[in-house]
Amino acid sequence: MLTLDHVSKIYKVGTFGGTDLAAVKDVSFSVDAGQVVSLIGESGSGKTTIGRMILRLTQATRGTITFDGQDVAKLPRRGYYRLVQGVFQDPFSSYNPIFKADHVFGMIRSVYFRGMPNAEWDARVEAALEAVGLDPDQVLHKYPHQLSGGQLQRLLIARALLLDIRMLVADEIISMLDASTRIDVLNLLGDLKARGLGILFITHDLSLGYYSSQRTLILLRGQIVEMGATEKVYGNPTHPYTKMLIASVPLLHKKWRQVEQELETTAAPAADACTYHALQPELRGDGASAPARPALVEVEEDHFVGCIRPYVKGAC
């Protein structure tokens, strides 16, 4: 459904835009209908930039993003947003504080449902609210500060549902919510998936990604270093960065040291052999021939990994 094909984003920084800063480098992946794909990265990994490019809030410098085979950049804006919507990290900053919270619905109506009779519109709003488990009486006609973070995020998802969307970009949507309510918002993504939506779930929290997604992408400094079926990426992490991430996640029932030990014994192949270059023998040898940005290779079915030492020249 949604496909990114060799997408890069380069920012011009410095005086007169003299220096290039690559936020996203040559990223390709796709999200299908009825699928939750989690995009995992730390700060500065470019994960939010990818989400913003998909949502057309910023333009890709290179590469194309297509939706059902059509170049997203060339689709009419309104038509595209009818199909693809996003929800962001900070529920409080997502609402214009001087308006009531349902202003976000009003904007949709003013653009897409201008002629719709009130009764029909109200029914539509009610249906969307029901889908996200909100009681209209509790959330309509209230100011954002009168609602909780969880309610606000659900409202935003309901807003997207007003449009019959087929794809949702969820960028860290629960990281600012309280522990007792975040899981319910997360579950909502599962419900949407069941309705056939494609979801790109952007997060830095591996446990959330594991809980909700079928596919996982690990992003490091703008590049995908490992991707595949979620259980394979987590069960058999191959790139050292992925391993390090998994070993760093604080768990409730297991201490860090334990996880470290487990990863060292069970993770295959051994960390000192570069899988990427093992599979591409012609590229082995001196640093000069090692490609700066190795393509992903398939280490097992539906499990891809990049060079394990992409930043040490000639290490392999």
């Binding site: 410095g14 005086t15 007169f16 003299g18 220096t19």
Partner: protein, 329 residues
Amino acid sequence: MRQYFARKLAIYLVTFFVAVTIDWMIPRFMPGDPVQGMVSRMSLEPEAANRMMGFFLGAFGLDKPIWEQYLNFWVALAHGDLGISVWQFPTPVLNIILSAVPYTLALLIPAILLSWVAGNQFGAWVARRKRLDNTVLPVGYILTATPYMWLGILIAWGLGSVLRVLPLSGAFNYSMSPTLTWEFFLSVYTHWLMPFLSLFLVMFGGWAIGMRNMIIYELESDYAHWLEALGAPQSLVRRYAFRNAVLPQVTGLALSLGVVVAGALVTEVVFSYPGLGYLVLQAIQNEDYFLLQGIFLFVIIGVLVANFLIDIAYVVVDPRTRVGMQGRA
């Protein structure tokens, strides 16, 4: 760092270019033929008016193609040729201006520097001291809201006219000629004091208020709170706050120069102090447009140079700009 200065310098050069162009354009592109208007306001005999008209046309080079006029303007400027004064015919404008500049600088530089230093100190001292804040500060607001000339008038009236402790006008006693005697210096000093004071006071109010607001902002910042949580005494917290609050004040100094210069000009008018401002008034009253345009260029160059110096000073005092420029941040 070099790139930063190159950028700044480029902006100032463009500004200078724009200013000179404006200066050139005004007499040529104002609606209703300004030269005609000038001559007609001189209320001369028709014959004299015609000759005056011819003189201006020639002097402005209005009979030549526009681009040539423009080019000639720059060439003349490069030679320091700002034209001949009509008021003090035939003294070159440059000479007249150069003889007035020292007076203006003698007023401006001490007034700006002293008011900046004293205002910042005072503002920092007042900040977060409740009683002072509520009693002294309104005075600051009134001072900043006072037109320079009015404060000048009030001081002149009070000290010069009513109390008669200081001389009302001029740069020194007219009966004296400039000599290196104590009497002469004393005369210069007493004549200088009132215009200086009125400039100083207005600016002082502005700096004090700006500093007070910035200090409060700094005292509420995270680093100040942490220092307090670690038991650091107020003296340290305030020292840091002052240092950080001064930085925007440096920028403010650069931005205020234009207005301050304007203030100095009108203050000179009040006290008939023979600086550039007094010259402006003479130029206007005598319809001496060459002189006016010359002063314009002089003031612009002065302000641009001062701005550039402050920019350099800012880099020296704010480590963040240096660090940022080295690209390490």
